[in-house]
């Protein structure tokens, strides 16, 4: 299997604004439709399961929300580029933006069923991304570009 060439690529540049999350969800939907068309046209290709699609959707929404809400406060508007790629053995999602650097918040404490009043209402985003995705890379370059790369392997083991 040639795992260097993506089978499907979908890319978009949207406003780094929570109101542009619609566009991110629409881009994901277009990506899965393109994946399904490609899978239908190829032999030996099986499209990612609905569970994997939900995990990807959850992680993509969290990264996009972080970039929009924390990387680009009202006084620092901008855009984010989102790129979705399906390779035979993995899914790769890239984000690029020139907003504020990402600062990881203290994670929400673990869920204890016996004391709901201790449950955090914020701070689950990064925990979610890490539990939904196999590899999460974040890098801020010297010239102020934030780059995220999320990798999900399709045939682990």
């Amino acid at each position: 299997v040639d795992d260097t060439q993506p089978l499907v690529v979908e890319a978009v540049v949207v406003a780094a604004d929570p109101r542009a999350l619609d566009d991110v969800h629409a881009t994901l939907a277009r990506f899965w439709r393109a994946v399904d068309r490609r899978a239908a046209n190829g032999t030996d290709l099986s499209a990612p399961s609905s569970l994997i699609r939900h995990q990807i959707g959850i992680a993509v929404a969290e990264v996009a929300a972080n970039i929009a809400a924390h990387g680009h406060p009202a006084e620092a508007p901008g855009t984010m580029a989102v790129e979705l790629k399906w390779f035979p053995e993995r899914l790769e999602i890239g984000f690029a933006d020139r907003g504020l650097p990402y600062v990881e918040p203290a994670p929400a404490p673990p869920v204890m069923a016996d004391d709901v009043f201790q449950l955090a209402e914020h701070g689950r985003g990064m925990v979610l991304i890490r539990s939904a995705i196999d590899e999460v890379d974040y890098h801020r370059s010297d010239d102020g570009m934030n780059r995220w790369r999320l990798t999900k392997y399709l045939n682990p083991g």
């Binding site: 109101r19 999350l21 569970l51 959850i58 929404a61 709901v116 209402e121 914020h122 925990v127």
Partner: protein, 114 residues
């Protein structure tokens, strides 16, 4: 997102919402749920059947509603969670805290012992 609350007997409120429960809608959703508790329906059932996407902010709204409900002697339970909602509740292990029901009527019946 639209959110309506139907009052039932026994302090039960059935909250129906649609669209995405996310960064953009979580604050309003939490407020509506807390208002429902204050209005005398602390036994909440949130019908997720028409909710197309839940993110971490949306989970925060449900937790906020749960705390308000528990403080008033009630609870917050989820009905008809779509697969995406089940996945995010499982990833965060919040499915240990928020009870899930296949239908609204099952969630209501669990409150009334019927």
């Amino acid at each position: 997102m639209r959110l309506t609350i139907e009052q039932r007997e026994g302090g039960i409120g059935v909250a129906r919402m649609d669209g995405r429960l996310d960064l953009l809608t979580a604050v309003a959703a939490k407020q509506r749920l807390s208002e429902a508790v204050a209005a005398g329906t602390p036994r909440l059932v949130v019908d997720l059947g028409a909710v197309v996407f839940v993110d971490s902010s949306g989970l925060g709204a449900l937790i906020g509603g749960l705390k308000a409900a528990r403080l008033a002697g009630g609870d917050l339970r989820l009905a008809r969670p779509p697969e995406q909602a089940r996945v995010i509740l499982n990833l965060t292990t919040l499915d240990r805290v928020l009870k899930l029901y296949d239908t609204v009527e099952e969630a209501v019946a669990a409150y009334t012992g019927g």
